[in-house]
Amino acid sequence: MKRYIVKRLLEMIPTTFGVLVLTFVLFHVVGGSPAEVVLGKNASSEALAAFDALHGYDRPLLAGRWSRIRALGDVPRETLARRPESGLLRLPLTYALPAGRYRVNAGRVLLGLRESATGAADEALVDGPAPLTFAVREGWTAATLDIEGPSAPRVRLEKGNRGLLDSQFVHYLTSLARGDFGLSIEHRLPVAQVLREGVGPSLALTIPILAGGTLVGVMLALLCAAWRGSVTDRAVLVLSTVLMSVNYVVWVLAGQFLLAFKARLFPLWGFESAAYLVLPVLIGIVSGLGRDVRFYRAAILDEVFKPYVRTAQAKGVSGARIMVRHVLRNSLIPIVTYFSLSVPFLFTGSLMLESFFGIPGLGSVSLNAIHSSDMAVVRAVVILGALLYQIVNVATDVCYAWLDPRVRLG
């Protein structure tokens, strides 16, 4: 048993790594520059660079000693202006280079330095084979940069990194390992705190939905299976296909409009007492019921034709007792699997229900974050959801192994 648990935990490692790589690729590579998303397309490149430096986005993605900087775009050699006094080419820097190590593909560099505190100016000439490495000291900035003919048609100015592996990916992994999900740009708070505040309301909404949905679903499915082929069974099946086909958006809007606004049976919006949760919970249960009943019915019908049911019937056990004591017990494995797959979503909440009924849970937090491009929050919810999914999966498997020796031995 212990070996089985260890084995399943070890199997989590590659998948977790996969999840981290996937989220990294999605949010850091495909997503483009977070600075531009947050500050807008019209922000100055100096502000963008400051944002990058603050959040570590100025590092290379995976690994590397040098990374590109925003101070200089893609400049062809021919477009540079020649300085009359020195005969060097002036680079169109969009902001003064802060302290750090730099590399440029030219043979001679003249730095126009300025001390930040006093405003004192200085010049420094660096000579050598291209590409040339130079450093700007702490407390100084390089306001101008003149170079002698670059070795390539395009000038490349790069910033040095602290080490080969001082990359965004490594930084990403290490900060996640510390439980640091970054800062929410919208809330100006650590993401972890934003999420912690949302978990409670989400659970208050989702636990009743899951419990109620499972209870009603299994009961209807048992009835269907007991009277399989009857009018009741067919009616429930048709009804569940119909329920399944109603769009989720419609469930929420129609439920709120008809029951809360027109009929005034429930409060419309808010999160003040348990009464505010009744309607969203009802909508949550009904919208998922079609799919649930169909699944549970199929799982139970798999057992109904087994020989032990016939044996029980021959012994004279009553129909209800056969269904509950014999059939239901044996069909618990698929039912529990199905149930456990919903457990991670308990925490991430319900996007629509929470937003439309004003429940301050993780669902509405995530939806707001998506609308305001608050990447850190979206990323954190996605990662947490994925990790929870895996943990619940392992826990379910371990439970099976505990209940059924064939699982851990086979």
């Binding site: 999840v19 296909t241 606004f261 919810v381 996605v382 999914y389």
Partner: protein, 308 residues
Amino acid sequence: MTASMNIRPNIVGRLWRRWDTRLCLIVILVYAAAAVYGEAVYRTARLTDRTPAYNAVRERSRYVAPAFVRLGAVRARPEDEPLYLLGSDNLGRDVLQRLVQGTRIAFHVGIITSLIAIPLGVLLGCLGGYFGGRTDSVVVWLCATVASMPGLLFILAVAMVVGQGLAGVYLGIGLTTWVSVCRNVRGEVIKHRHRAYVQAAQVLGYRHARLMFRHILPNVTHIILIAFSVRFPASVATEVFISFLGIGVQGEPSWGIMINNARLRLWQGVWWEMTFVTLAIFALVLAFNHVADELRDLLDPALRTEQV
């Protein structure tokens, strides 16, 4: 495809023979025709550079009720006012025309996301199931990774990050839903891998690609057909949700956008836009779901709802 058609020559015929599936097929065909018509309208408007009928704003005809509830008023309407069979919206645009455009977008979503998810799932499933060993481990790992992403939120995140309106939605849905196709195909391929006909072909010295795609794949096409019929309504429903939230299509009348438009007016008693969009989505999704059920019963009774 051809091989499975020879063994089961008459899937469509069998669906057609029953009244309920026949009705569903007719509904789907009507929607498909509407989608083709909508595409034609859309293309002509683009080519001639004119405002298409579904975007034509008429300030004087805002919130006109559907024609069939104002029979007398229809005859007395101004000369230049359209009929508004299903009413007009807040800008005097024809709800029916916009529904047709919504159908066009729904079919785009259903078909394009299938074209992303199904080939990807089939390819990976075939590779994993056929080669087994390390290849299979990689495929299983990929499936497990993507499967553990929190569904809708992940699709939204992909759509948000990719941006570009509908393209982001296609990618978001397509790249997250290939897993079930892959798992089913892989399971079937594993069943077939050691069968006599595959061994016979191996003995003949055929290459792996030929064994996989010419010999095994035709025997698992029913999985692909089922996957398509299940995916289509699901991705349509997802697109409605995403564009309702304002992340997908912009400026085009997707069903989700229409619902979002109609939502606010509903409180003021403008019921028609909401009702007809809801019915339009419902009928298409229901017809597809029912056909998918029957298709599954016909082709593979062992596959249950939850596995596709």
